[in-house]
Amino acid sequence: MNLFKRKFVTLLPILAIMGPGIIAASADNDAGGITTYSVAGAQYGHSLLWVLLLTTLALSITQEIGARMGLVTGKGLASLIREKFGIKWTAFVMGVLFIANLGTIAAEFAGIAAAFEIFGVSKFISVPIAVIGMFLLVTKGSFKRLERIFLLFSFFFIAYAISAFTLKPDWGSAFSSLIMPHIEFDKGYILTLMALIGTTITPWGQFFIQGYVVDKKLTKDDLKIERGDVFLGSFITNLIAFFIIITTAGALFAHGIQINDAKDAAIALKPFFGEFAVILFAFGLLNASLFGAAIVPISTSYVITEAFGMESGLNYKFKQAPEFYALFAISLILGGLLVLTPFLPLITILVVSQAINAVLLIPVFIFLYLLSNDRKILGEYANNKIMNIIVLLTLMGISFTAVFYVVSTMFPNLF
């Protein structure tokens, strides 16, 4: 106990200097993330691993662009869109962001519901309590402290790495799948592929990283450190994804088990943790979901109020910034209600919301691309060619996948 205590204390300063990139990346591995990776591994084995390599690259570059724009201009993405493209485009992008975030928030509550269902608590009890609890925790509590607690518990993901090594998977196959792209013309496969993209690279994450950098009042001098932070964050996110897919592939796919609810996903941790796996998984899922449920709704109201020029921030009282708090409450409530909709299984909400996120990335990235190439705004810090190529390839990749999905739904027997 004493030893643990000492370790805990030495860890705290590290958490204190953790940068925006790491926070954004950790929040990326939220309920939707864990579920999508688990489903990808359980359903398709190693065959989707190649997507991770591409999303790592795309995530690093787009997050770097976000951080760089924040550092150079001192403004959030929403501000830049508003100032460059006017109110109509801003309203459009904010509409897109709101829908995407609503999906993500629903996914977080679905994660909370799923975690509690493992212990037999109905979602009709857990979700309303979580909605109210989140509102109070964020508005009345200390947000920073909350964030650090969630981050600390993110160490849960190490469990996947341990499990992965215990399973002794075929590393050769894993690494070759990582490098060799593989496509199946199957509705489910493409949907999972899209969800993999959409859970790693998210519209809210793009706004979040830039807003966070601005809030921390970082400047151009911090660019180098911030780049490192962002790249490291992107790498860690996908490393975790890699281990989740490897373990679920080994523990579920190899035995033909499909994921129908959260309990099934916990099987991935059994090889090392045995009966304790279920509890561990429920705890990890809950923590990840709470992290997301704390960050995404509040970032939604920050971004939208910033775009429309309303007073915003937790240091205002309700009366001073009513729109800010109303938006926060509405996104929590709507997100919670989506989970309580009958006939929508939690796993479906979790995966489909991520796929929708991927599609809604398209308009966000178009604006990101245009702004990051604007020399009037960024001067010498505008994108270079390589960055542009990666952003454009990402855009094309997502668009093709989306079109592919539609085609595969409409004409399932085309190939």
């Binding site: 100032e83 020029g309 007073e311």
Partner: protein, 395 residues
């Protein structure tokens, strides 16, 4: 008054044919009430500028009087309303981000002039062409208080530059404060020197004054109240939250604070100034037994209780001793023995007369909705009479 958003994108006609579109307006931003110096017209993808004297603004668009010119090329160096001001961030002196320039307000009576910027949701609604369905009052920051434009970040700084401040009359400043949002209002007050701030605050309407005194930072508050008239603080006594008032009185120092209290007791000779705001109030639908239980643990017991109906409105007063004598199932509203009341603006003399004439012990004071807001007790009346006799003796 005309909004920039109403003009942007409108056609420019010459001899009933479309010549181009209005896309921007240049101003000389250094002037306190800047007139439009150039109107930018987009014609076949090229931007030209014309002098406003050559153009007439109509409801359907604008009409050129001649196409002979002079047409000048678009000059990047000018200050343009659409390009450089619209949608930009408004920040205060401490570089805090506040709001955005959602629209720009202009005056078109003689010359086209810029009057201020609209920072309210009304501007957004108007620009999204939703103003036909949603009506919101605009929130306008007048041009006079815009201090500077940051050309690097495109931000608009608001605060009063000392230079312009000298030219603004306190009553004009008061108008400005009344129209602003809370946050901007406070940042302006904080940027003023205490004397001007106090003067301007005194000229504002009671709601604005109340809001400012409620929210102002303690450091600024102390300086401002030290410059305000004792009487105007006394006027706010029952409007501002009691904790805040206590703070204000503390900041004023004992001597000035006691003068406030004196004004409240003496100067403003009304029921409102005399009343006590903590008093016993029961819902008239309660029955005697319930009232008895409520009173049981209380020491000392109130002499009389104000009775309201279900909607918080006054029914009358009831003496505690009467409750003891009544049927335990009777409703309080049926036991009311006195139905007199006064409004807070009723003069002290009339209140005293009422007490004398009807032998009252307690008189409720009600607001315009007939909701009780305080009571005058016989003790207060006696105090008042005593004070008056003292004053008389002194004279």
């Amino acid at each position: 008054m005309i909004y920039l958003s109403n003009l942007l994108g409108k056609n420019v006609y010459f001899e009933r044919k479309i010549y181009g579109k209005m896309v921007d307006f240049a101003v000389l931003e250094s002037s306190p009430n800047p007139t439009i110096s150039k109107i930018v017209i987009k014609k076949n993808g090229k931007k030209l500028t014309v002098s406003p004297s050559n153009i007439e603004i109509k409801s359907f668009g604008a009409v050129l009087s001649s196409i002979k010119g002079p047409f000048l090329p678009y000059d990047e160096g000018d200050f343009y309303l659409n390009e450089d001001l619209l949608d930009k961030q408004v920040i205060d002196i401490d570089d805090r981000r506040l709001v955005r320039v959602n629209d720009i307000v202009m005056d078109a009576t003689n010359q086209l002039k810029v009057v201020g910027i609209d920072i309210g949701a009304s501007g957004i609604i108007r620009r999204l062409s939703l103003d036909r369905f949603i009506k919101i009052k605009p929130k306008i920051i007048p041009w006079q208080i815009i201090e500077a434009f940051d050309y690097v970040t495109g931000n608009v700084k608001i605060s009063l530059s000392q230079n312009r401040l000298n030219k603004i009359h306190p009553s004009e400043l008061a108008d400005i404060l009344e129209n602003l949002g809370n946050k901007e209002r406070l940042s302006i007050v904080e940027s003023l020197d205490a004397r001007s701030a106090a003067k301007a605050i005194e000229e504002t309407d009671i709601k604005t004054r109340e809001a400012i005194l409620e929210e102002l930072k303690a450091s600024a508050l102390g300086q401002v109240v030290s410059k305000m008239h004792v009487a105007s603080i006394a006027g706010l006594f029952y409007k501002v939250n009691p904790l805040r008032i206590r703070e204000i009185l503390k900041l004023m120092g004992t001597e000035r604070a006691s003068r406030v209290e004196k004004i409240l007791d003496f100067g403003s000779e009304t029921a409102g100034a005399m009343m006590r705001t903590t008093f016993w109030k029961f819902d008239g639908n309660l029955i005697v037994k319930e009232a008895y239980n409520l009173l049981f643990e209380q020491k000392p017991k109130p002499e009389a209780i104000v009775i309201t109906n279900g909607n918080e409105k006054l029914v009358g007063t009831i003496y505690t001793k009467d409750i003891l004598d009544s049927d335990s199932l009777a409703q309080l509203k049926d036991l009311v023995s006195e139905r007199k009341f006064v409004y807070p603006n009723v003069g002290v003399n009339e209140v005293i007369l009422l007490f004398a004439k009807y032998n009252l012990r307690l008189l409720p004071v009600v607001d315009s909705d007939k909701k009780p807001i305080g009571v005058v007790k016989i003790d207060n009346i006696l105090e008042k009479i005593e004070q008056r006799t003292q004053v008389d003796e002194l004279i």
